[in-house]
């Protein structure tokens, strides 16, 4: 009885068109049976601050182990630095320094020559989660959510108690400020501990310093590998890295021009979900449905807007704010049924075939290189494009082990969760044997090879907030495969040519080796002269070399 009642109320609440967060009154109904009153419950119910949530779920952000925490911290700071430089049209010049305080404690500093940050914004950017410029727009950038660097700061605060230190000069002639910032995790708000004007040499830029609990390891999954791979995918940047063991790595700038600036786009109607559509309807300033559709989305002209409205059985001058769930759903279905142009694709900024090759050649000594940069495609209304490059016959790689697969999303190397990533799956599903490369069933190919795959998109679909693996949308998988097949075919041509040459070489050496013996034997049997014998050998050699078999 009580169960049935509960179900009933739930159903009513969900069909009433009210937002889910406002469904609280539903709990009120089964008064006599439930021992706690709605009032009791209400006392226990309170807002969970995002920062509090992430304190408890730090693994979601990539801070699950001390080794990964170091990498994630560096990664978030570097992502921000590169994004800031590029947006300001400055060729990035990065300095990454990691200092060992103790075996379990490190101080990370990342400094850029970017535009700097205005004083008022600093606390919020570094001391409040989900604050940033990137979440609200669709544009290809490294960071997406505005969680990264503040989460790193929070992690440092939790493990070492030290605040995050930021020095920034927002332009030549302006004063440089140094801040010490902590996060009030309950309120998700920054607390500025210190704010001083300081002497700082760079004309503009930002330096972030964090002290965190971490461990440092060498190898491909470590900061060392991350910095190297970042340099490969960002040939327009100059990177200096000082490792905890004091080694200094300089990654020189390969390209003297900034990559094409990515454009911000409005969402494409086909990629919008019902809930978001409803919110957009309520928040828009547009006075009519026509103005709403053509103004808030890409690829919707007023004519197309009218067509959608007609399909949804709504007047074109219908006021969007009046729309309830029923109308929104009708509109949603009308949008899905309407044929629309694909979203603009020239908004993306690929690395490009040429720079992919140069970046790869700079880092890896190999016998053969190939690269491809595909034209953009669309998944769920979001444009994306895939690039792939490979270096085959790399000197330092073993021939009998799986290839080294380097995955990138918006130029950021992905170091963890390789198996869960759409890139890995696509590479495994590619038939490498067709290109003369060994491959066991369901495994990466076996070759002394590095394969780079880059996905650029206004919104890269990651499997989690720690941004380690790309979700396996069929459209994305298909394009990755096409890109990989393209470089694979180029490799296949090279390998087959090599095999043919080896074959011809073997043929030559066989002829060289054994023809003299035929001459000797014939001479012994037939008592012919040396001259005659040499003539026989020369003629036979000529005959065999001409033949293809």
């Amino acid at each position: 009885m009580a169960q049935a009642l509960k179900k009933e109320t739930k159903k009513r609440s969900s069909s009433s068109g009210a937002k889910k967060s406002e469904a609280a009154p539903a709990v009120k109904a089964p008064k006599k049976i439930v021992r706690l009153t709605a009032m009791d419950l209400a006392e226990k119910q309170r807002e969970i601050s995002v920062s509090e949530f992430f304190t408890k779920n730090r693994h979601l952000l990539g801070f699950d182990s001390p080794a990964k925490a170091l990498l994630t911290t560096v990664k978030e700071a570097v992502d921000n630095a590169l994004d800031a430089c590029e947006e300001a049209g400055i060729l990035p010049d990065l300095l990454i320094e990691i200092q060992e305080i103790s075996e379990t404690r490190y101080r990370v500093a990342v400094q850029d020559n970017g535009p700097g940050i205005v004083k008022a914004q600093v606390p919020k950017i570094f001391g409040q989660l989900l604050y940033g410029s990137k979440f609200h727009r669709l544009r290809q950038s490294r960071g997406q959510q505005g969680i990264g660097i503040s989460a790193a700061g929070m992690y440092g605060q939790l493990t070492t108690g030290k605040p995050i230190t930021v020095i920034s000069r927002p332009g030549a002639g302006k004063p440089a400020h140094k801040f010490d910032i902590q996060i009030d995790t309950r309120r998700n708000a920054p607390v500025v501990i210190a704010d001083n004007e300081v002497e700082w040499t760079p004309a503009h830029g930002t330096r972030v310093e964090l002290e965190i609990e971490a461990t440092y390891k060498k190898g491909r999954h470590s900061v060392d590998g991350y910095v190297e791979q970042t340099a490969m995918a960002n040939p327009h940047s100059q990177v200096t890295y000082v490792s905890p063991s004091g080694e200094r790595f300089e990654y020189a700038r390969v390209a003297q021009e900034l990559p094409k600036e990515p454009q911000e786009i409005k969402p494409h109607p086909h990629g919008v979900e019902l809930g978001i559509l409803l919110r957009m309807l309520h928040e828009t300033k547009a006075k009519s449905l026509r103005a709403f559709l053509s103004g808030e989305f890409s690829r919707v002209s007023p004519a197309v807007a009218d067509q959608i409205a007609k399909a949804a059985d709504l007047p074109v001058l219908y006021s969007p704010q009046k729309a309830a769930r029923t109308q929104a759903e009708a509109l949603y279905n009308a949008i899905q049924a309407t044929k629309l142009m694909a979203p603009p694709a020239n908004v993306l900024s690929p690395i490009g075939e040429e720079l992919l090759l140069e970046g790869l050649k700079k880092q890896v000594e190999a016998r053969f290189y190939a690269a491809t940069s595909r034209s953009p495609s669309v998944y769920r209304g979001n444009p994306f494009l895939i690039e792939a490059a490979l270096a085959f016959g790399a000197e330092h790689l073993p021939a009998d082990e799986p290839i080294t697969l380097l995955r990138y999303a918006n130029r950021v190397p992905l170091l963890y969760q390789q198996a869960a990533c759409a890139v890995t799956k696509s590479v495994i599903q590619t038939n490498w044997k067709a290109y003369g490369v060994l491959q066991s069933r369901g495994a990466l190919p076996t070759a002394p090879m590095i394969l780079m795959v880059h996905i650029a998109s206004v919104w890269v679909p990651f499997t989690s907030e720690s941004k380690e693996a790309v979700a396996a949308y069929p459209e994305i998988m298909k394009d990755i495969k096409l890109a990989v097949q393209d470089v694979g075919r180029k490799l296949g041509i090279y390998i087959r040519r090599g095999l043919r040459e080896a074959d011809a070489e073997k043929k030559r050496s066989y002829i060289e080796k054994y023809i003299p013996h035929i001459g000797i034997a014939l001479q012994e049997i037939l008592d012919i002269s040396d001259k005659q014998r040499d003539k026989v050998c020369a003629t036979l050699k000529d005959t065999l070399e001409r033949s293809r078999s």
């Binding site: 054994y514 034997a521 036979l540 078999s549």
Partner: protein, 361 residues
């Protein structure tokens, strides 16, 4: 026949040289060496080679074998011309002077040797090559007339005078002559059985000549018995294990030759041989202890019935083989010892030899 070999080798080599000088890829035609390329001659009683030939063209892939074959021919020519003899093993070592054309294993040189032998349709002894293994052991009322290597004088070897030992068949037997008053030749598969019969003087009692083959008989052994049986008009009785190997490999090869050396079966067969035992019927009649047939035995038996011209021609043999497979067992010569160690001499052999007409062909 050896005298004809050198011109044959020269002719073949000349053909190769001519083709090379005409800018053609030289070819050589080798007879196919397998049971598929033999036919059973009923009257003569042996496997005769049929005309199937495999043409080998000199290409990049065959240049090594071609060079080795020609060098083997050259070596053979030298051996024949100098009246020398090299064992198969020695020939293999001679090739070690051939640089890149040398053989890595003796099996490789043996194969090339067999090819050359078949190419010229001669016996490898005629080419100056000799097998390593000895021919077999002989005991009984026989005098072998041989020549002394140094003086060339005739030597008479009395095979009754070896005590508990035996006369050893030499590699080359063409020059031997025989004196005997024995009634038959008993050819035995295993050295163990031979030893027992020698030790107890069975040849004296039965007035026969005993020969031990020690497994599949060597060419020399076959040729020795053939020449002896032909010269003295003696019947030849074969006594081997009652299993597919003893019947189809040992007895069949002994009597009619093999597919591998089909080109020389004419000389290396003993068509007058008859199968004394152990027959499948013996296993039943003499209540012999048995072992189950192994998988290879069954395969060999089926293969014999299906592909071997000898079994196809001799219905009693096909039947006997079927019977053996039906029984699913095999019995060794030594199984007779189950009835007493000397049962074989005192009962089995006398009973069998009393009725040679019952022997399998």
């Amino acid at each position: 026949m050896s005298e004809n070999l050198v011109p044959k080798i020269k002719k073949e080599a000349k053909g190769v040289e001519d083709m090379i000088l005409k800018k053609k890829k030289p070819t050589m035609k080798f007879p196919v060496r397998s049971l598929a390329n033999v036919r059973y001659l009923e009257k003569e009683g042996y496997f005769e080679i049929r005309g199937m030939k495999k043409e080998r063209t000199l290409t990049v892939n065959t240049v090594k074998t071609f060079a080795q074959t020609l060098r083997m021919m050259a070596l053979s020519k030298t051996l024949v011309e100098t009246d020398d003899l090299a064992t198969k093993r020695e020939a293999y070592y001679v090739s070690k002077n051939w640089g890149d054309a040398r053989f890595l294993e003796q099996t490789e040189s043996d194969t090339v040797m067999d090819d050359v032998e078949a190419l010229f349709e001669v016996n490898r002894e005629q080419m100056g090559f000799a097998p390593e293994e000895k021919g077999g052991d002989v005991s009984g009322s026989l005098v072998v007339v041989d020549k002394d290597n140094d003086t060339g004088k005739l030597i008479r070897i009395d095979c009754t005078k070896f005590g508990s030992g035996a006369y050893s068949i030499p590699i080359s037997v063409e020059h031997l002559k025989f004196e005997t008053d024995a009634k038959f030749i008993l050819v035995i598969e295993t050295a163990g059985m031979f030893q027992r019969l020698v030790k107890h003087g069975y040849w004296k009692k039965a007035n026969c000549i005993l020969v031990s083959m020690g497994g599949v008989p060597t060419r020399a052994c076959r040729r020795f018995i053939r020449r002896l049986a032909d010269a003295k008009k003696l019947p030849v009785y074969v006594f081997v294990d009652g299993d597919p190997y003893g019947i189809s490999n040992i007895y069949r090869t002994f009597k009619v030759g093999s597919g591998n050396a089909a080109h020389i079966n004419e000389f290396f067969c003993v068509p007058q041989a008859r199968f004394l035992g152990i027959t499948p019927q013996d296993i039943i009649d003499y209540k012999l202890p048995t072992h189950p047939l192994k998988e290879v035995d069954v395969k060999r038996a089926k293969d014999a019935i299906k592909n071997d011209p000898f079994f196809q021609h001799h219905k009693p043999w096909a039947k006997a083989m079927e019977q053996l497979m039906g029984m699913g067992v095999r019995a060794e010569q030594q199984a007779l010892a189950a009835h007493g160690l000397n049962y074989v001499m005192e009962t089995y052999l006398p009973e069998k030899i009393a009725h040679p007409e019952r022997f399998l062909p």
